[in-house]
Amino acid sequence: MAKNVKSQKPQVRAKVREFVIPVVRDGVVLGREAPLGCVAIRRALDLLIAAPFEHIEIEDDVISDIMIRKAILRRIPRENVIDFVLKSVKPLMGAEEIMHLDLDVEIMVEYSGR
């Protein structure tokens, strides 16, 4: 304690928020240098979220893995997901980051002719 300090009173400021479950809604994009690896993310997702997730390994200099909810892959082909991530998400992240994907997927169905 400094010489001219008479007393100290600890103060705690806290933000308390509700831990929302699921923590991750649709997917996670892992940077290659992210502090957590895909196994940890996967296991965490397995533990925390009932919905199953698909692990997609990416050969990219920034992104190493994508964890996507398998339900999403029913509606969007895998390649599209990868393409979307690489084109849209990648520019937004660094290799050391982990991005949370929250996707709204609308399917426009068109029937042709008969």
Partner: protein, 1036 residues
């Protein structure tokens, strides 16, 4: 060394972690093995995470640090683990191939067993290298040790190989071998036992046990127990503890304790005949397989050696047998023909070299074929064997008998001195073979015929000698059988004569046909007979008088010479005594002694007995012994001579100069006289050598104080020479030949002797000797010189001149130079040598300047005068020569006189010295006696006075001084008895001096009142002294 495998290089710094674990702060060098844990404790290996992986993602869980896909796909990750038995090189290759720093290893079941990193691999390699290095070092050590052992084994093998050079088992070699083996194997104890054919221990050599210990043990290994097993089963035994083996028979008492055993058999062709065994390694360890190999190798070498030795031995024996069969007769064991020829060749070489005869005998059994055919070959063979033995028993050492075949034998007799020796042996064989021979309880009679040939007479080579001996044998068989014959008729005749002579001699002995003749010995100075030599003669009834040279050798051979010699001695001594009894002048009787007589042990007793029986004094007997006889055995001869001399007998050395004695022996032999052999006397008048020898012997004899007798004096010239040179006695035909006793007696009775001649240099005879081969010259000279008053002798040759010189006292010689046979110079040289005092002149027209000048320079010639001569000059020269001669003689006479005087003076001096020495000894003795007497006198317990005839006291001992006290003069001596003696004593003295009586024990009173007893006696009864002696004893 096994190659390194993966399992050998597992990293020790592996940390096993769960996949979901996060790395903690750990060692930078750790490797993490990530496992997925499952229920039930199972786990799956996922992969490896290095610290660098952790460092890169420090927050990730291990599962996220694994290589991609490792957690999801393969149980053991992308990197396939290597089998733990994979070669390390392959692991390294895999790491390089996959660019890995670490790789997991799995066991055969695929289960994770560890991790290999480059570092761990390197470490493993380093460790292996270290291990290898250590291993190398150990191997090197091991190799070095082995090399040393191999070298030792090599040494031992060399020693063993050296054994192969030997054909017999030498104890020393076996000893060296077992010691080398024990040393090699480092065993404390070792032994080799080799069995003989009968299974018994033949050789036993040991090491490690001292001789004393062995002595304590007291017995050799019996081969029971374990050692027996080795032999019986022919196998090696290697035991750590013998006592644990049930087959062990234990040790005898005092045997050192032994635990371990290594025993190997020595075998050949599967049969053990020995064992090598060792016990107790020095390092305490049991014997190893390599020790067993070594020992077995040694035992095998030994087996080879033994087998080799046996082979060699067998070969040697076979060779010896062959040699034997090649040289010896199988039946009789005698040399065969081949060997006989060999020996004969050698003996012939010797005989040629030594010029000595040898005899070859050929012997054939008479009627052997009949015996063989009748009684069978077995009997015949045994008969031959018996005959061979009989023949051998008759031979001398060095003789050879051989069997040629059938019933023929040959004999070789080397170094025979006479052919009679061969006859003797042949006779002995023939006689021996006549005796019955018993074969298989049957008496057989067999005879032999023998032929004899003699080298060189009957042949000079082996074939001739054998052939001639065979011929002689044939003649013997043809004519006589059972006899022997010489090849040459002469020998047969001689032998026949010999046998006849022997018979004759025996008969002569029995019939008293032997007689003694006597030859006188004369003293040259007096001309009188001083001795007789008794000479044996044989009066043969038919042949007349037989020369001793003919029968003495036969008598020697027969042994008759001993009794004959005794008879001669007896007869001669008796005869001499008879002559003495007949009052003839005493003389010495010379009797010859033979070899055989001298060799008799009782010869001295025999001589002594004969002297006693005959009554002859020993000094009148002289035994004549030849020089050569003495030299045969000088030591024994000296002993006999000394014994004979001790009887008083004279001994003379007969035939002096003909033997081979050393002159030094003359000093040792106790002899009295030398008899110069007649061979020297014969030519003394003409041969300067004989003259010189004879003169020297005479001179030597004189100096050694030996009488010298010249034998065989036959001419006056010889006589005169001997006389002139001082010979003592002569014996010979010149005076008398040996004569029968009657004639000898007559000589003695007539006192016959010789007139001693005037000696040279006595009366000067002016005798001139003219020598010229031309008579007219001699006559002319004689006519010229006869009026000058000379006695002229003439000669026509040098030889005649010498003869005249021998018999006449010639003063001057005038000789021609040129004469046939002997030149003048030569004649005068000889004359100078023989008659030095002659004056020698050469008168010659022939001038051989060199010989004449040489002769002059030698002193052989006084003058050389030429022909024709001047009468007056010649006369003058002759006159001068005589004058010169006279002067010479006078000088010689003077010289002799001076010499004689010197000798006399010398003798006188010697005598004087002797007497002085004697006197000195006497005086010394007397002085000693005197001193002793004085001492006795001084210490006598009585007073003693001696008074001389003047009345002075000349003797007074200590007691006397005490009794009377010392006078003023200090001593009683020299004082008048009257003044010092007390009245009572003086009275006694005067009584004796007056001659009245002797005072004996008279009691007198002394001045001090004591009483004494006095004795007084006049001196002179035992000495020349005059005076009186008084003895006073004081009464107590």
């Amino acid at each position: 060394m096994n190659p390194l495998l993966a399992r050998d290089a597992l990293c020790r710094r592996v940390v096993e972690v769960g996949a979901e674990e996060r790395p903690q702060k750990a060692s930078a060098r750790n490797i993490f093995a990530v496992f997925e844990h499952h229920a039930g404790g199972l786990r799956t290996f996922l992969g490896l995470v290095t610290q660098s992986d952790v460092a890169r993602y420090p927050q990730r869980i291990f599962a996220d640090l694994l290589p991609i896909g490792a957690a999801d796909r393969l149980p053991v990750g992308v990197v396939v683990p290597v089998p733990e038995d994979m070669l390390l090189e392959e692991v390294l290759a895999r790491l390089d191939q996959q660019g890995l720093e670490a790789i997991s290893a799995a066991d055969a079941a695929g289960k994770f067993s560890g991790v290999l990193t480059r570092t761990s691999i390197l470490e493993a390699l380093f460790a292996r290298e270290r291990e290898l290095l250590l291993h190398l070092e150990e191997s090197h050590h091991h190799l070095t040790a082995w090399a040393a052992r191999v070298e030792q084994l090599h040494d031992a093998s060399k020693k063993l190989l050296a054994l192969l050079a030997y054909t017999t088992l030498e104890q020393d070699l076996l000893q060296a071998g077992i010691e080398a083996l024990a040393q090699l194997i480092q065993a404390r104890y070792g032994a080799i036992g080799i069995l003989g054919e009968n299974g018994e221990l033949e050789h036993f050599i040991y090491t490690g046990i001292t001789a004393e210990q062995a002595k304590h043990i007291g017995r050799l290994p019996e081969g029971r127990g374990l050692l027996g097993v080795v032999i019986k089963e022919d196998r090696a035994l290697r035991l750590e503890d013998m006592s644990q083996d049930p087959r062990s028979a234990g040790f005898p008492p005092h045997h050192p304790a032994m635990k371990s055993l290594l025993a190997v058999p020595i075998d050949r062709d599967g049969v053990a005949f020995g064992r090598v065994y060792l016990s107790e390694k020095t390092n305490g360890e049991p014997f190893s397989a390599s020790d067993e190999i070594l020992a077995t190798s040694y035992a095998n070498s030994l087996a080879m050696i033994i087998a080799h030795a046996k082979e060699v031995q067998a070969r040697v024996e076979a060779q010896q047998r062959l040699d034997y069969l090649a040289h010896y007769d199988g039946l009789t064991g005698l040399p065969n023909r081949g060997l006989f020829h060999d020996r004969m060749s050698q003996e012939l070489v010797q005989a040629r070299r030594n010029k000595q005869p040898l005899a070859v005998l050929f012997l054939d059994l008479d009627d052997f074929k009949l015996i063989n055919d009748t009684l069978g070959h077995s009997v015949g063979d045994n008969l031959l064997k018996a005959v061979a033995q009989r023949i051998q028993s008759c031979l001398r050492e060095g003789d050879t008998v051989a069997r040629l075949g059938g019933d023929e034998f040959t004999l070789l007799l080397p170094e025979i001195s006479r052919f009679e020796d061969a006859a003797q042996i042949a006779d002995k064989i023939v006689c021996d073979l006549r005796l019955p021979i018993t074969i298989a309880d049957r008496e057989l009679f067999v005879t032999a015929s023998v032929g004899i040939s003699i080298y060189p007479d009957d042949g000079e080579d082996a074939d001739s000698l054998l052939k001639n001996a065979d011929t002689a044998m044939y003649h013997a068989k043809k004519h006589d059988k059972n006899s022997y014959r010489f090849f040459t008729q002469d020998m047969n005749t001689a032998l026949s004569n010999l046998m006849e002579s022997e018979n004759d001699l025996r008969r002569a002995w029995v019939n008293n046909e032997f007689v003694l003749h006597y030859q006188p010995q004369l003293d040259l100075r007096t001309g009188r007979i001083v001795g007789m030599e008794a000479l044996l003669r044989w009066q043969h009834p038919e042949k007349g008088l037989v020369s001793p040279a003919e029968f003495i050798p036969v008598a020697e051979c027969m042994g008759l010479i001993v009794p004959l010699g005794e008879w001669v001695l007896q007869t001669a001594c008796a005869q001499n005594k008879a002559w003495q009894d007949a009052r003839f002048a005493p003389l010495r009787m010379g009797v010859n002694m033979s070899v055989r007589q001298l060799r008799q042990d009782n010869v001295v007793d025999m001589v002594k007995r004969i002297l006693q029986e005959t009554g002859l004094a020993a000094q009148y007997l002289e035994l004549e012994i030849t020089e050569s006889l003495l030299m045969e055995d000088p030591d024994k001869a000296t002993g006999v001579l000394l014994a004979l001399k001790s009887l008083g007998i004279n001994v003379s050395l007969d035939d002096f100069g003909t033997g081979y004695s050393s002159l030094s022996f003359l000093k040792h032999f106790p002899i009295d006289a030398l008899k110069i052999d007649q061979t020297f006397i014969r030519d003394i008048a003409s041969n300067p050598d004989d003259a010189a020898i004879t003169s020297a012997v005479i001179d030597m004899g004189a100096r050694l104080k030996l009488r010298v007798i010249a034998e065989g004096v036959e001419t006056e010239a010889q006589l005169r020479f001997l006389e002139a040179h001082g010979c003592d006695e002569i014996q010979g035909y010149f005076f008398s030949k040996p004569v029968p006793v009657e004639n000898a007696t007559s000589l003695l009775a007539e006192c016959k002797g010789m007139q001693p001649s005037t000696t040279r240099g006595g009366r000067m005879a002016q005798t001139l000797l003219l020598v010229d081969d031309e008579q007219n010259i001699v006559s002319a000279l004689k006519r010229l010189l006869r009026h000058d008053g000379y006695t002229i002798l003439t000669a026509n040759s040098g030889k005649e001149g010498l003869e005249l010189l021998a018999t006449h006292d010639v003063g001057v010689i005038l000789s021609d130079q040129r004469m046939p046979e002997m030149t003048g110079v030569e004649f005068l040289r000889r004359a100078k040598e023989l008659y030095l005092d002659t004056v020698r002149i050469v008168l010659s027209g022939y001038t051989d300047l060199k010989s004449v000048t040489d002769a002059i320079n030698e002193g052989a010639i006084y003058k050389f005068l030429t022909k024709p001569w001047e009468d007056e000059q010649l006369q003058t020269n002759v006159r001068e020569a005589f004058h010169h001669h006279a002067l010479k003689l006078e000088n010689e006479q003077l010289a002799r006189e001076v010499k004689a005087m010197n000798e006399a003076l010398s003798r006188t001096n010697l005598e004087l010295e002797r007497r002085i020495e004697e006197k000195t000894r006497e005086v010394v003795s007397k002085v000693n006696i005197l001193q002793v007497s004085q001492e006795v006198l001084e210490n006598l317990p009585a007073a003693i006075f001696g008074v001389d005839d003047t009345g002075l006291i000349v003797i007074a001992n200590r007691k006397a001084e005490e009794l009377l006290g010392q006078p003023a003069t200090g001593s009683l001596l020299g004082n008048s008895a009257v003044t010092v003696l007390p009245a009572t004593l003086l009275a006694c003295l005067q009584e004796v001096q007056a001659g009245e009586s002797i005072v004996s024990g008279k009691t007198v009173e002394l001045p001090d009142g004591r009483h004494a007893e006095a004795w007084c006696h006049p001196m002179g009864t035992l000495s020349k002294s005059k005076g009186e002696v008084m003895v006073i004893t004081v009464k107590s």
